[in-house]
Symmetry: C2
Subunit: 341 residues, 2 copies
């Protein structure tokens, strides 16, 4: 009889959140957190200016605050932040993650600083050459994960191979893609195509992932959904990402102009309302939450800088999955097994 009352406590996931990072912080980060504790079984620690946080925190259930005095801004040079902003919400949060005071960390702040901070505080998994950022791109039939989206501008072929491995693990564990295919972003599909690193990586990936490596993929084909994992150096990956973003925005702007031109076109816009809403959703990065930092000794998620509350809540959901699926340990095991590539 006693046993009935002694059912094991379900331990809540503990998410640490940089309350001060992002264009709309702390308002949207705080709102996103309240939404997340409502939807998911978790506890959140908001790190940041406690006074400002409290202004937006209308429901404290499962949320606590850790006060910090500094804020990392977009203008801060990533390499200097460790010295100049040790008491920032971002670095304090990362230290808490490293100390085991939480299971995952989410920030919508300065990407470069987050990568540097994660590398120096949370540290890399042993054997991993560089931490990569892995944004998720909505494509036909789902999403593709891009590794690297901008953390490492100069990459060797070896680094590209680790990106492929980490991206595949994340896609399988967290994004539920069975047997993810890997494409190497290149300026042509033929084996000999690409810059020095890409040509070398092609050969190495063929050996490392004989089944799942589908070869080179051109930027115009990524929406086909043929590759679940897109591998690129961070310079090229970032150009790809922002080219997609820029084109989609330019397209949307022109579409809007077209639909608001006259009385009749406005009527059409009304008829098309639902379609346009689906259309927008399809191209909305916010639906996917954020980008994981892969290769770190902990689950760190970069939320989009312009995140609203729903986007930020989605980033928290992603941090939860990142931790729950044990992706960090799977990557650690894989790198131990593979040895140094």
């Amino acid at each position: 009889m006693m046993l009935i009352n002694e059912k094991p406590k379900t331990t809540k996931m503990r998410i640490i959140v940089d309350a001060m990072g992002g264009d709309n912080a702390p308002q949207m980060t705080v709102r996103g957190c309240m939404l997340a504790v409502e939807k998911y079984n978790l506890e959140i620690t908001l790190v940041g200016n406690s006074e400002q946080i409290k202004q937006h925190l209308t429901n404290e259930r499962n949320i606590k605050i850790v006060h910090s005095t500094q804020v990392v801004s977009y203008d801060d040079e990533p390499t200097k932040v460790m010295r100049t902003k040790p008491k920032s919400s971002m670095l304090v949060g990362l230290s808490m993650l490293a100390a085991g005071e939480g299971d995952a960390f989410v920030s919508a702040g300065n990407t470069g600083a987050l990568v540097t901070g994660t590398t120096l505080i949370v540290k890399r998994i042993k054997g991993i050459r560089r931490i990569a950022i892995a944004p998720i791109i909505p494509v036909k039939g789902g999403a593709a994960i891009l590794v690297d989206g901008g953390a490492n501008v100069d990459c060797t072929a070896q680094m590209l191979c680790q990106f492929a491995m980490m991206g595949s693990i994340y896609a399988e564990a967290v994004l539920n893609v069975n047997n993810p295919t890997v494409g190497l972003l290149n300026n042509g599909t033929e084996a000999h195509k690409g810059n020095k690193a890409a040509v070398e990586a092609y050969e190495m990936l063929r050996e490392l992932l004989p089944v799942n490596f589908m070869g080179n993929i051109e930027a115009r084909d990524i929406f086909s959904g043929k590759a679940n994992v897109l591998v690129a150096d961070g310079f090229t990956g970032n150009i790809l990402l922002k080219a997609i973003e820029g084109t989609a925005l330019y397209f949307s702007k022109n579409l809007k102009d077209m639909l608001t031109k006259s009385f009749l076109t406005k009527i059409s816009a009304l008829i098309l309302k639902n379609g346009i809403s689906d259309f927008k959703k399809k191209f909305d990065y916010n639906e996917h939450g954020g980008a994981p930092l892969l290769g770190a000794n902990g689950a760190v998620i970069k939320a989009h800088g312009s995140s609203g509350e729903v986007a930020f809540c989605n980033a928290i959901r992603q941090a939860k999955s990142f931790f729950e699926t044990d992706a960090v340990n799977i990557i650690t095991d894989a790198v131990n097994k593979e040895g140094d590539v």
Copy 2:
């Protein structure tokens, strides 16, 4: 009285055309040529399989044919073409340009082979490190020229500076942009951003073009029209170009699905017909014709592989301007003046 009859002959521009290059050759190339001689004051020499050409040539006015027996295909490796396809329409045409048998050359064929063939047959301008391909991207208020769009995958900072110089000259002379601004494609706007070549090029460009160099530009901002010349290594440039193309296509496909979903949405599509047509035009590369090869000792234009007759005619118009504006000589003078960067 005699003098009246002896008015100076207006010399017609002589364009050499690779009749066999492109997805729809020779049908679309031949049709494009007939359209061009109708619209512009020029003579065209079509190089290719004379029998096939004649099937489509319904009006021979100002058009002659030079027979050639081989065709460069998309699968041909650029570096091998010189040995394996010396009698191809592409290489025969380039040799004619080099020999002065025409003023400009247009091909919609294998880009890599065209760059290699141009480098080896037409040759580089003395002092120019590499020939670059410079596609034109439709942006707000006009167009931006991208140098390099894919000819040189690994680039030094010096090469990037020459791309900036050549692109500026072409933009000013051929595209009629007054005082063109130059942006360095980068993963951030700050001076320290980018891979090794980009960081170095930033400093050099600031010295070379103190007024016109606007600094780094992110891929999402290119549609703003802030930069008339976009400088990138060919690997990154090609990813940019194809990312724009892929996103625009994906967007169009989704737009079409939305408009054809039901009876009511089809009615809306009818109302929006003109708007959609303008919209398409805005994103249509074909409107701009082709991409010049910059740095060669002659005017060579690469037409889009999928060119229809209008696109091909536009590419011929561009070849005409390329020659008429003397852009090749202006680049030659500039490189002599600047010395080696």
